[in-house]
């Protein structure tokens, strides 16, 4: 076996892949072959490094060099300079945004300093298509340990003591869920991995599946051992072709090694995993809906009880856990419940992966201990707000969550604090909004999503959310009435109280939390017909500047509704009551005399 002294890790996550990281990989490989270095230099494609903003990423070990935005044409220089001559290619190094000086060692990057990677520990470190690399990083060791040393109940106790809670939404105790499923007697039980990551703007599950598929297979087998199931199913979005491909490879490699299939580690335990594909329905993240979808039916939720632990897939006891939850299991077994529960806050243990996106400098995937403050996440790890704008809010928990504002910046983030602030952990999407975002429009955006994704089974969700959307739409086009705000509040509470499943019960959250935190913006839209961010086009007003208008009549002639008045060589006026905001006048004016403003103009037409 050849001994490598240099390792080039090329990110092959979806983000970097989209910016041609595969070409970077091929060029580097060709260059290494050409220089005859293939015995000493190893090039692998890894999962996501999390630093998606500056992809494609190339990391070089052992010296932790972190190159960003690498182009295929940079390959030769990297091999010649860095690998052969040992000189770093400074122009490709990540530069500290404050000092602008290049950072030589990735551990010094503020993006990574505050992070603690547990669930993502192997993402970006191994080749996900090679089981040997996973095994070198302890894959399947935890499975071996429980099969040979523990009873199912002892294993469940470890998970319970660790305090691990479901990472997909509500945060139910994982150990307890396993115990409940284990207690139900049945000849056939199922372990289901929920990889139907539907929250727009969250992509941690996909990154884990793409970067470290074996950890999920191993954790599912451990769960199967605990609850007495020998069949596992992964319900994965069809929109994740790369994750599907890597899972398939991982399953077949694990079978080949005897780590999956009949009598694993020569024990009496057999376990097999198959894939089931989603087909694009957000509601399928709800466990009963997911189970119906796996059975080949419409993904509609059903009443609980019975819980899946009693009657799930094909009517058998089923344990459904999310990808990130599973990713924590093997490391808890290996390092112990005490180690895990020493991280985090009183009621929320361990770490949480967040997908940072929106108006933030470092878009990407991060993992921090529970209890990290929003300020640390946004300003230290995230590098602050894009283009030096002012922070306004961060939306967490996707369409089921709410927004946190400036006053929450120093709150330690965990399940309880997010719920107290009117939001939720959800899957961990964090969308950062700045002063240019209109909070009413953001609420409308989420409602639009919910209206499209509501399965239609129960009335409050199907019709209530539609009415919520219409009311919000009215407000954003300047037709809001004072009573609309009260109506929104009432409707929200009815939908919350009476919807069948988690989707409907949480769907009014974006409205409620923006009402709570940004009531003044709703008031401005309704009473002053003003949108301070300028996002709502209908609430922008075309005005003619007295200084710049020379009275050429060009705009008057082009106006389709004859809203412009004024004689030749006199300053023109726009009648706001008639103006339809088509913008034709502004396009026509050669003197830049027509502007958009977000305050209703005091003087209208003088005729």
């Amino acid at each position: 076996m050849s001994k490598y002294n240099t390792h080039l890790l090329v990110c092959a996550g979806t983000g970097c892949h989209s910016s041609e990281s595969n070409l970077v990989y091929e060029m580097l490989r060709d260059e290494v072959m050409r220089k005859g270095l293939d015995k000493t230099v190893q090039i692998i494609r890894t999962g996501c490094f999390g630093f998606c903003e500056k992809g494609p990423i190339l990391k070089i070990l052992p010296d932790n060099t972190f190159y960003t935005q690498v182009k295929p044409t940079d390959a030769r220089e990297i091999i010649d300079e860095h690998v052969i001559k040992g000189r770093k290619v400074t122009r490709l190094l990540y530069a500290d945004p404050e000092t602008n000086s290049p950072i030589l060692n990735s551990t010094q990057m503020s993006f990574y300093k505050k992070q603690l990677r547990v669930a993502l520990r192997n993402c970006g470190a191994i080749d996900p298509e090679n089981i040997d690399e996973s095994i070198a990083r302890d894959a399947y060791q935890a499975l071996g340990k429980v099969l040979l040393e523990y009873t199912p109940q002892e294993t469940i106790d470890v998970i319970k003591q660790s305090g691990l809670r479901g990472r997909g939404g509500a945060g139910f105790s994982t150990g307890l869920k396993w115990e409940l499923t284990a207690r139900n007697e049945s000849t056939q039980k199922y372990v289901v991995c929920n990889a139907d990551e539907g929250d727009p703007g969250a992509f941690m599950d996909r990154s884990i599946l793409e970067g470290d598929p074996h950890v999920i297979l191993e954790a599912m087998a451990i769960c199967g051992f605990c609850i007495g199931a020998n069949k596992g199913l992964i319900y994965i979005r069809a929109e994740y072709p790369m994750a599907i491909k890597r899972l398939k490879i991982a399953i077949s490699q694990a079978k080949e090694y005897g780590l999956m299939g009949e009598r694993i580690f020569d024990s009496d335990f057999s376990f097999d995993i198959t894939l089931k594909y989603g087909a694009g329905a957000f509601v399928c993240g709800e466990e009963t809906a997911l189970i119906h979808s796996m059975e080949g039916k419409r993904g509609e939720p059903s009443n609980k009880p019975p819980y899946p632990a009693q009657s799930g897939y094909l009517g058998k006891p089923t344990c459904v856990n999310n990808v990130e939850t599973f990713a924590n299991v093997p490391v808890i077994i290996l390092k112990g419940a005490d180690w895990f529960s020493s991280i985090g806050t009183a009621k929320s243990k361990g770490t949480k992966v967040f997908a940072l996106a929106g108006k933030i400098n470092n878009v990407g995937l991060i993992e921090v201990p529970m209890g990290t403050t929003l300020r640390e996440i946004i300003y230290e790890i995230g590098g602050g707000i894009k283009n030096g704008k002012k922070f306004k809010a961060v939306q967490t928990g996707g369409p089921s969550g709410g927004c946190l504002t400036e006053k929450h910046l120093d709150t330690p983030i965990d399940y309880e604090s997010l719920a107290a602030a009117g939001s939720m952990m959800g899957s961990g999407g964090m969308i950062v909004l700045d002063e240019d975002d209109c909070m009413v429009s953001v609420a409308k955006f989420y409602l639009d999503f919910i209206v499209e994704e509501s399965c239609g089974k129960c009335v409050p969700c199907r019709i209530g959310n539609k009415r919520l959307y219409e009311t919000l739409d009215r407000i954003t086009v300047g037709k809001g009435k004072p009573e609309d705000i009260e109506k929104l509040k009432n409707l929200c509470s009815v939908i919350k109280d009476t919807s069948l499943c988690g989707l409907g019960q949480t769907s009014p959250n974006p409205v409620l939390s923006t009402l709570n935190n940004f009531m003044e913006e709703y008031h401005e839209h309704v009473y002053e017909k003003k949108c301070r961010s300028g996002k709502c086009r209908s609430l922008l007003y075309y005005v003619i500047s007295e200084e710049e208008c020379i009275g050429c009549m060009a705009c008057k002639r082009v106006c389709p509704t004859h809203a412009i008045s004024g004689e030749k060589k006199e300053v023109h006026q726009i009648n706001q009551e008639i103006c339809i905001k088509c913008g034709a006048c502004m396009e026509k004016c050669q003197f830049d005399a027509i502007h958009l403003q977000n305050d209703y103009p005091k003087v209208t037409a003088i005729i």
Binding site: S18, C52, A202, G278, I431, D437
Partner: protein, 183 residues
């Protein structure tokens, strides 16, 4: 769904292929090859009704879309009513009963892309191609669809044409993207 169609005599000859256990032939206006292909897909999943979604995935992959006639054949093979198949096809956004364009354009309207201006990009595509979301152009070249998050949030706003990803798309860049495929 299974309407009375004007069926060519040669199609009648293949009716046996889609005769269900109830002995009633379905009236389908599909060529023998297509029916065989569907039968083959259904067989590969043991004609198991629980595998309906996987069957639909494979069939859509083979034909590009799932017209009513195709659903008829699937329903028969899996011993489901046509309504059950139709219910599933229309429930999931991934399945389509309209053929997509030769160059399907998908605009990501996930939250990250939304806050970075995906709406304006979508408007520009609609204006430029004179199409609504979900429509296919008359010449069959382009179709517009929205999708929720491809996970390339660092490149927001993101547009996909077929499999190719375009990142950081601005409304001004829309014409150039369409131009690449307009030859």
């Amino acid at each position: 769904m299974s309407q009375k169609l004007n069926i060519a005599p040669e199609v009648f000859a293949y009716m046996e292929h889609v005769t269900g256990t109830d002995g009633v032939a379905v009236r389908v206006n599909l060529s023998k090859e297509k029916i065989e292909k569907i039968n083959q897909i259904c067989n590969s999943f043991n004609n198991d009704a629980g595998e309906l979604i996987n069957v639909l995935h494979e069939t859509q992959h083979a034909f590009g879309y799932l017209p009513a006639e195709v659903q008829d054949v699937i329903a028969h093979n899996l011993h489901l009513s046509v309504a059950q198949v139709y219910a599933v096809v229309t429930f999931y956004s991934f399945f389509s009963m309209i053929p997509k364009g030769e160059h399907p354009i998908s605009i990501c309207t996930g939250t990250a892309c939304y806050v970075r201006g995906a709406e304006k990009v979508l408007e520009e595509f609609k204006k430029e191609l004179q199409l609504k979301v979900g429509e296919t152009s008359a010449d069959g070249k382009f179709s517009i669809n929205c999708l929720r998050c491809v996970g390339a949030c660092g490149l927001a706003p993101v547009v996909l044409v077929g499999e190719k990803v375009y990142g950081r798309v601005s409304p001004d860049g829309v014409k150039a993207i369409i131009g690449e495929y307009k030859k």
